[in-house]
Symmetry: D2
């Protein structure tokens, strides 16, 4: 296995742009990818939960990955391959790795309960997809109902050489980062890059606890890039000032359910994608919600010129 790419900065979670009739919008994929590159992201994750992965047929999934890889050039592309069984997971992994993906992301099935069963699952998954395929551990208890203790993450990372980085979205999660970093420091765990999710709701302090960056899809990924940069440069107040300006919208976008519609709507208003269409069973924003987002953008525009849309 070749050495893992050192993950850090912003691995943006890409939505999947659709035409209003539900077909995949290829030119929006290109435009979005270009935007991410210019924004300074260091990686991209496609076909995650908020990429509407389960709504895509296998061929569509493969097509999206192919297009993004071609467009993003040297940017590492991570592909969500979570599936109810290893067969579909392996099939998609093989296809996308052959096309040049940098690795895959795997979420635990929500039936797992004991520590051992979680570790065992990742070991079997890694074996199933190929033990040389770098994979991202997705720790997202709010959606998956699976609680991973820090010691479980350490075990997965220790027992699976292909473990690449952690998409951290536990809530609360600050002390978890501190614990993992303490274990690295005392030598009881090999280096584990940590990129945070949860729509960046705690990015400000997560960076200070030792996160390496973000792995989420907030509609202003360019802001995420700046906050990560400012924080790494030790400009604490500046990082918080920028972050706080966006927090009202971050919070609004983080709502489960309508959150993705908010994200696509803002990205449409910013000209990044052409339509904010979601495939079923996802729904459109209500007029009231749309007006609220407009109001949030108008307020944000007073503090961050990026929001002048």
């Amino acid at each position: 296995m070749k050495p893992h790419i050192e993950a850090g900065g912003v691995y943006v979670i890409a939505p999947t742009p659709f035409h209003p009739d539900g077909r995949i919008d290829d030119s929006s994929i290109d435009r979005m990818t270009d935007f991410f590159l210019q924004a300074g992201v260091t990686g991209m994750t496609v076909l995650g939960q908020l990429g509407e992965a389960p709504k895509m047929a296998h061929d569509e999934s493969v097509g999206i990955v192919k297009r993004v890889i071609a467009r993003a050039k040297s940017l590492p592309i991570v592909v969500g391959v979570s599936a109810p069984g290893f067969a579909a997971m392996r099939a998609l992994t093989q296809d996308v790795m052959a096309m040049g993906a940098a690795g895959v992301m795997i979420a635990p099935p929500n039936t797992l309960r004991t520590d051992d069963s979680i570790v065992q699952y990742y070991k079997q998954a890694s074996e199933a997809i190929g033990s040389d395929v770098p994979f991202v551990i997705q720790d997202y208890p709010l959606t998956f109902s699976v609680q991973m203790a820090p010691s479980v993450i350490r075990r997965i990372h220790t027992e699976c050489p292909a473990s690449w980085f952690l998409k951290h979205e536990d809530w609360p999660g600050l002390d978890k980062i501190s614990q993992l970093r303490a274990w690295e420091k005392d030598g009881s765990m090999r280096r584990l890059p940590i990129l945070v999710g949860n729509n960046a709701l705690f990015l400000d302090f997560e960076m200070e606890r030792g996160a390496d960056g973000a792995n989420t899809g907030y509609c202003f990924p360019d802001m995420l890039v700046d906050v990560v940069r400012l924080s790494k440069a030790g400009k604490r107040d500046d990082a918080h000032d920028l972050f706080d300006a966006h927090l009202p919208l971050i919070r609004y976008e983080q709502q489960p359910g309508p959150g993705l519609a908010v994200r696509k709507y803002v990205m449409m208003r910013r000209g990044i994608i052409a339509s904010d269409t979601l495939r079923k069973p996802g729904g459109a924003l209500t007029p009231a919600a749309r007006a609220e987002v407009d109001y949030l953008l108008s307020r944000l525009a007073q503090k961050d010129s990026r929001a002048k849309v």
Copy 2:
């Protein structure tokens, strides 16, 4: 939409036979299908939860269905198409209906909570796969964590013309059958065939409450056929005598997890399939469990000659 086939008797849930190395065992599929036909089943369901559906790649799934349909001739074949998203569900449905399947089975995703969300899900699923494709409602709260009130089932059946029959495996579930039958009687619901699951653990009384048969995969489907027949013929004591003889093994096989390994082991001992292999993450029976099943079979053989294996 052509009229639904009137479901009744035993729609056996078929396991997927594998070679010891995990490849699909085609000749065991044929032998198993022949056995089911001779046993008098009235239908077959393939690629259900206990058919290890999530462990199959799309092409494998299609291949299994094709082979079974060819072999089973006029027997109606139901195919499990549950998936995390409608795209995969539609893709598999289209393929199998084109090959001659009689309908599909859909389980609700375990995130559904409110009554409305369950009804809405089935309506959207039916629309997604094609509103002329007969579908089976799978009501299995123990595994799917989704509780369907009788009124929810009535709503699905009323609002979806393609609703075909109910795979009933709520627990407890006897009064649910009585409620649904009462609604049919008073005209507030159109006829809903009910076939029961849960490894037939309550088949004896479920038949008396108004079930039309079984839709499960107990390792002696020939016994299920006889119990359904005896019960429908009003031979209550005979039905219970036969059922009770099998109950120790039924109960043993109904254990979540090892249950499928028990089923395959007995079917292997009966000569129906060649190997009791499960694909990962399923495991083999421990020697202790295997010995317990052997003991149960030896006891059963004293009451039912079918168990002399």
Copy 3:
């Protein structure tokens, strides 16, 4: 049954102050109650989830309520009485209503799934505690795992005359408020006061959707009072300005688990209670977390003088 008090404004969720050794701190209860009165709250809820209710013996619970009622004079006091069974619920209700409580709050047990079972639970609970005792519906799916559709809330409110107001903390929840208000408007539901929770994370927009106020315990309840007042007065930008200044801390305090420790720590720093002690199994803030809260307070102090502590 006498007419319900018209709920609105801020019904603050009161924490229970302890001495460092875990005994109840009576003088802090008094000081805290006085503070709430001066802050302009319109009601108080004691012994909620974040009042550490399950950690109190029955006599302790009764003692706290007695003390608060005596001190708060004419302020309506709501008491959380959720319990695994109706016997304990009734016992506490009878005791506190006899002492002058205005009503009680009831959360649904987390085993409820179907719409009917939720409605049935509230009907039985209301009967058990006395059908003339005003009760608050607590709709908090994140903690209780019970999803109440708007139609379920309407049914509870319609079928239980003693239903008083809704503690709304669904997430997402904005459209739920709009739906309930639409039903009031078209006459299909009697007036239902809505006070919002979730640590006020969406108070800004919830007010605009039709909420009557807040029923939560954020460590600056005086700010909640002002936001509610500004919002009701139509001073939209002012309401958002004040709210946004607090949002970084609101978000930090809303973390499940450490959130209550944050709340008590800030209230201690503000001089409202003497110690930030939690009873077991609650834990103290880590030094890192404490420093983060200090930093948030120092930033907040630049925008809201209340935070100069």
Copy 4:
């Protein structure tokens, strides 16, 4: 701490008998206790889940325990003290231990997920109730949604000197018993008595895997005593013959929800208690269910004279 009583045989789970109006029926408590003594049980557990514990006020709970202890003389009495918080747990424990209870039973709250959190909970609970109070670990994932790996049980038993025995009701659970016994054998765990629950649905094989007896409330505890005795005496076929005769009813009684009503109904028919009343929210058997139980009893009577009622 005095040495634990060596648990084995049948610790029967006692229901709480009520008068038809819901008051506690003291004379039925006495008659039931006498019956259990004559049946040869070696212990009694009161106020478990199926003792309707949450429906009892504190004083009622104490009264029941007092009465049973006085009547049962030297029989060890275990009291269920599970509660949402340690305060109520400690209060009840102190009261019942002072009256002469042998120990208490504690179920884990259904929010626990990680291995560490489960172990931590039992350590804190033991400390809270008094570290010299023998406690029973209740491992019942079906109801409590908490999965305890064998290694978690070993840790609890090792780290808590007051850990007394395991009420084992995992499902599947046979290999769990084998694992725990293997650890005792290789010296990596101190002796842990195991009594099984789940309405004895697997008692036959659980005894053979190494269980010490049963801790459940099936309506024929006298049969449980005999099965345990026969199994310990190595009379395998006799044990299974007796067990199998009861299995149709065992299965029927094990239904969650109506199961307790079945149990009380049969105990009423056997003359052990005067009424089969359940407190709300428990309901009565439907006439159809009652007739089914009658039929099961009539069939059982042909094989076991105890059922001639």
